[in-house]
């Protein structure tokens, strides 16, 4: 068709009819080839919305003969798991390979389970406030897992085998060979769909978006808010057309060209898409000369005619509407507002919109780059877009940065360089009070050093899931921080001495999370230090600190302000003696007490809990055997504010008991059956 228009315009003796034909064909081209006007909303998958004409080309690159189905081969990263790292019970590696338990339903250790469930952690005293909350998407992701598959495929189906409490998966991402993350599926009805009441395992197959690029890395994102209890996943099956890796370079080149096309101006784009290029045969120079002399003007005038016509049509419409409009059009617009009002308005915008609105006009640009709008930065929802360039742009704008959340950025792809981050911190870090770097992959020893040296005003430091296995990051400069009120080291391995030094230096510490970091750390020593130096502690999480002993429990009774404590899987000894009683007597403000798998608990200990904890709201007694029913009823009666009671894997309890108590005392009681065998 391009050839026909060229020949049309070449011939000067054409009638007006033909010229209008030429115009129509230009408009046609606009519709068909210029695929940028398609309705894709996401700027990050512009590579996807290629025009239909290019579909044929891509198919050529695939080995289009057969489909393969593959289970996950390995786990590249995850944000949280229930078990400890070396274990094969309830941990992330269980999601690889074929399903071990599906289609059975139950709480099996051969599956992957995460640390949290429901909204209970958001109701605990240690709950976090979001930084820059307007950035957070409607359905925020709480956890993720990144899976690696063996073969490159063009994915068209994914099956997630959920064997316990299905319904936590909210997004599926794919990492393409063009080094971008594309969201293949998002759960739009997360809040409106009815709560999935589980009794059966589910093979969940969300409908995936079609993409043209092959992938072998998939990321699943989870949100547990609507779940009753832990969710567990047995396996993930990805299927699609196998991609022939020999063609990878060709495909990459092709998409590079496509991408370059999209960054050109509109006229050049049109030229490329119309394939209006000189055909490089022998006399191409002559043809080019001919075109430039005769047809270029016509071409440009045709284009501008089209534009002028469309503008005229629009103006006519406006005039018509304003003629019938009775009210006077106000002359005061956005640009007449005082600067402070504009700032206030813009403070409600999320980061993406802020950047976009800054591209509108000079005035709006000045407003949108004002440092007051960048005192809190949350890049976690943009983890897939975060890059060194973004960081340097933000560094220019964020001169009074107070709170920074860069969790999940730099995940598996080194798009953020450690040196750039170091520079960022050195430039902007001195007024930082809140810093969250959970699950980031770009931190190295010198970054941590810089943090310790520059950010001495830090009140909150969160380094969850931050240690590459082995070697340990050298955190020693963190000993310089002296104003910490919240320290989160969930799943991060830290040296014992450094931890003790940090505890000594931070007397104002209120929230401390040491879950999973404790195998090499002597928890009793830590407890001693806390008792001595951190008396203002409000919440303490020592999940899976296997070697915390009753001695440690006893000394912790020095912290009278404790409202939340998690001793799950600690205290492995035979009996706690009087330590629990002592602890409960001193810490009367306790609202959340988790004693999962503390097998040494006896009836007497539960009596103490009932009598000494009037403010208790959440209690976890999972896996504690040998307790009589009366003790449970006692607790339910005396702890009037109790909202959550976890009695899974306890004995002496029947289902009807649980149902009765739940109704009578208005408490959410978790109890689950023991799975039949350990196949």
């Amino acid at each position: 068709m391009s050839q026909s228009s060229a020949t049309n315009s070449e011939d000067d003796s054409k009638t007006a009819n033909n010229e209008s034909v030429a115009v129509d064909s230009v408009i046609d081209f606009k519709g068909k080839h210029f695929g940028l006007e398609s309705t894709s909303q996401d700027s990050d998958d512009y590579l996807v919305s290629g025009s239909e004409g290019t579909m044929i080309d891509v198919e050529r690159f695939c080995h289009a003969d057969y489909r393969i189905e593959q289970y996950a081969h390995s786990v590249l990263d995850f944000s949280s798991q229930y078990g400890i790292d070396l274990s094969i019970s309830y941990t992330a590696p269980n999601i690889t390979g074929r399903p071990s338990k599906y289609p059975e339903y139950g709480d099996f250790p051969q599956t992957f389970a995460m640390r949290t469930y429901g909204a209970w952690w958001d109701r605990a005293p240690s709950r976090l406030k979001e930084i820059q909350p307007q950035n957070v998407s409607e359905i925020p992701a709480e956890d993720f897992i990144v899976l690696y598959f063996e073969d490159y495929i063009i994915p068209d189906e994914i099956a997630i085998f959920e064997t316990y409490n299905p319904g936590a998966v909210i997004r599926v991402w794919a990492y393409t060979i063009a080094k971008t993350w594309i969201c293949l599926w998002e759960d739009k009805e997360f809040y409106t769909k009815p709560i999935y009441s589980p009794s059966r395992a589910r093979r969940f197959t969300p409908p995936l978006k079609r993409i043209q690029l092959p992938t072998k890395t998939i990321r699943l994102e989870f949100n547990h808010q609507r779940l009753h209890y832990y969710t567990e996943i047995d396996a993930v099956l990805l299927s699609g057309k196998k991609f022939n890796t020999r063609n990878m370079q060709h495909l990459l080149d092709y998409y590079e060209r496509q991408r370059k096309v999209l960054t050109l101006g509109s006229i050049l784009c049109k030229l490329q898409n119309m394939k209006f290029r000189p055909i490089c045969r022998d006399n191409y120079q002559n043809r080019l000369q001919h075109f430039l002399m005769h047809d270029l003007d016509k071409f440009i005038s045709v284009l501008s005619d089209v534009q002028i016509q469309s503008m005229q049509r629009q103006q006519q419409q406006q005039l018509q509407s304003s003629n019938t409009d009775e009210m006077k059009i106000s002359k005061i617009g956005l640009k007449n507002m005082p600067f402070e009002i504009m700032l206030k308005i813009f403070s409600y915008l999320d980061l993406k919109s802020l950047f976009r609105v800054g591209a509108v006009s000079r005035f709006l640009y000045d407003v949108s780059t004002h440092p007051l709008l960048y005192s809190e930065l949350n890049l976690k929802p943009y983890w897939h877009l975060a890059s060194t360039e973004l960081l340097s742009t933000l560094a220019k704008r964020a001169t009074i940065l107070k709170k920074l959340d860069m969790s999940w950025c730099g995940c598996t792809v080194q798009t953020i360089s450690p040196t750039e981050f170091k520079k960022f911190i050195q430039q902007r870090g001195d007024s930082l009070t809140h810093l969250r770097l959970n699950s980031t992959k770009f931190l190295n020893a010198s970054c941590i050093d810089t943090l310790g040296i520059v950010c001495d005003n830090l009140k909150e430091l969160s380094l969850r899931n931050c240690s590459p296995s082995p070697p340990l990051l050298n955190f020693s400069c963190l000993a310089n921080l002296k104003n910490l009120e919240r320290l989160d080291l969930f799943q991060t391995v830290i040296e014992s001495d450094l931890l003790l030094t940090m505890l000594e230096n931070n007397p104002k510490l209120k929230h401390l999370n040491l879950a999973f970091c404790s195998v090499a750390v002597n928890m009793d020593d830590v407890a001693q230090h806390i008792a001595k130096y951190n008396k203002q502690l409000i919440s303490l999480d020592m999940w899976k600190a296997h070697f915390l002993s009753a001695q440690g429990l006893l000394v912790l009774s020095n912290c009278h302000n404790l409202e939340e404590i998690d001793f799950g899987w600690c205290l492995r000894e035979a009996s706690l003696g009087d330590s629990l009683r002592e602890f409960l007597t001193q810490c009367t403000k306790l609202k959340k007490l988790f004693l999962a798998a503390v097998r040494g608990l006896t009836d007497r200990d539960l009596e103490y809990i009932a009598n000494l904890c009037p403010n208790l709201e959440q209690l976890d007694l999972m896996g504690v055997l040998g307790i009589s029913k009366e003790r449970y009823i006692d607790i339910l009666q005396k702890c009037a504010k109790l909202q959550l009671l976890d009695l899974c894997f306890c004995d002496n309890i029947m289902d009807y008991d649980v149902a009765l108590w739940s109704r009578t005392f208005k408490v959410d009681i978790k109890s689950c059956q023991v799975p039949n065998d350990f196949r």
């Binding site: 390995s74 070396l86 274990s87 094969i88 090499a520 009996s575 097998r599 196949r679």
Partner: protein
């Protein structure tokens, strides 16, 4: 607390010195170079009887309180048996649960990335650690015997705790045999996880105390892995006679028949009250006047090596 102290040492050692040092993973594992080297493998069969055979239901992987597993990966063949200690019944604990869990976890661990074919002791150790990570508490104790054939170097590595064991027969002779580990008569070494409060009364041995042995194997070797139900009831000579008949046999049906007869023989002898079983001989040596066989669960895992 002995068991806990040990496991903390193991875990912290593992982390401090790095996983690789403890495991000594073999590096040249994954090449599939078309069989230029000879790749030995087991042909293995299982047979057994629970003590209460006439009244109990069959459960796969268990014979009463005994439990077994056999599995293979691309570079190893693994066999294992475990014998749950029956004394726990009086505490209300099912003795078969512990041994069953141990064997099933060993099987899962074999297929893990970290499996080291040259140290079966690690299988037992990590399996034991997994016990502590179960939501449902698993209590009890058991003996265990694990045998790994490393295809790379045609060598068998074994780890044995307690009175289960193995026997290797070549050219009509016993070339390797495991030793019974006992604290005192009828009290073998055992891995155990007692209920809280009973730690001091309970014998608990750490996987470190396992006997480890390694030896090369040749084509046609016969390997028997069994619990004490076999070794206590069938005299060694009789075992040898039966095993030397299947040397070099690769037909699994014939092997199965031999395993069946072995198990049946053990069972009939165990109920024979006049027969001087090895158990009775041992008892007499310990000044206990006993005759006849010892009724017990019987598990026989029989394998031949084919190269």
């Amino acid at each position: 607390m002995h068991s806990l102290g040990w496991s903390s040492k193991l875990i912290s050692r593992a982390l401090r010195s790095g996983f690789s040092a403890l495991l000594e993973t073999t590096t040249n594992v994954t090449s599939n170079n078309g069989g230029s080297k000879s790749r030995p493998h087991f042909i293995s069969v299982v047979c057994g009887f629970p003590k209460d055979f006439l009244t109990s239901k069959y459960k796969p992987g268990k014979y009463g309180e005994d439990s077994w597993f056999k599995t293979s990966t691309s570079n190893a063949d693994v066999l294992g048996v475990a014998d749950g200690v029956g004394g726990w019944r009086s505490y209300g604990i099912d003795p078969g649960e512990f041994s069953s869990f141990l064997m099933k976890t060993c099987e899962r661990l074999v297929h893990c990335v970290n499996f080291n074919p040259q140290r079966p002791v690690n299988l037992l150790a990590y399996s034991y650690c997994e016990l502590l990570e179960q939501k449902k508490p698993i209590l009890g104790s058991s003996t265990a015997c694990v045998l790994v054939l490393n295809r790379e170097n045609s060598t068998v590595y074994t780890a044995n705790i307690g009175d289960s064991g193995f026997m290797v027969v070549r050219r009509g002779e016993i070339v390797h045999k495991s030793e019974e580990q006992q604290h005192y008569f009828n009290t073998p070494f055992q891995l155990s996880l007692p209920p809280p409060g009973h730690d001091h009364n309970v014998l608990s041995d750490s996987p470190d105390s396992a006997d480890t042995l390694s030896f090369p194997v040749k084509d046609g070797d016969v390997i028997l892995v069994a619990t004490d139900g076999v070794f206590d009831n069938v005299p060694e000579k009789l075992l040898l006679d039966m095993l030397k008949e299947v040397e070099g046999v690769t037909d699994p049906v014939k092997l199965q028949m031999t395993a069946n007869s072995l198990a049946l023989m053990a069972r009939s002898l165990s109920f024979d009250s006049d027969f001087m079983s090895p158990f009775a001989i041992n008892a007499r040596r310990n000044n206990i006047n006993a005759t006849g066989g010892k009724p017990d669960d019987i598990t026989v895992v029989l394998a031949t090596v084919a190269i």
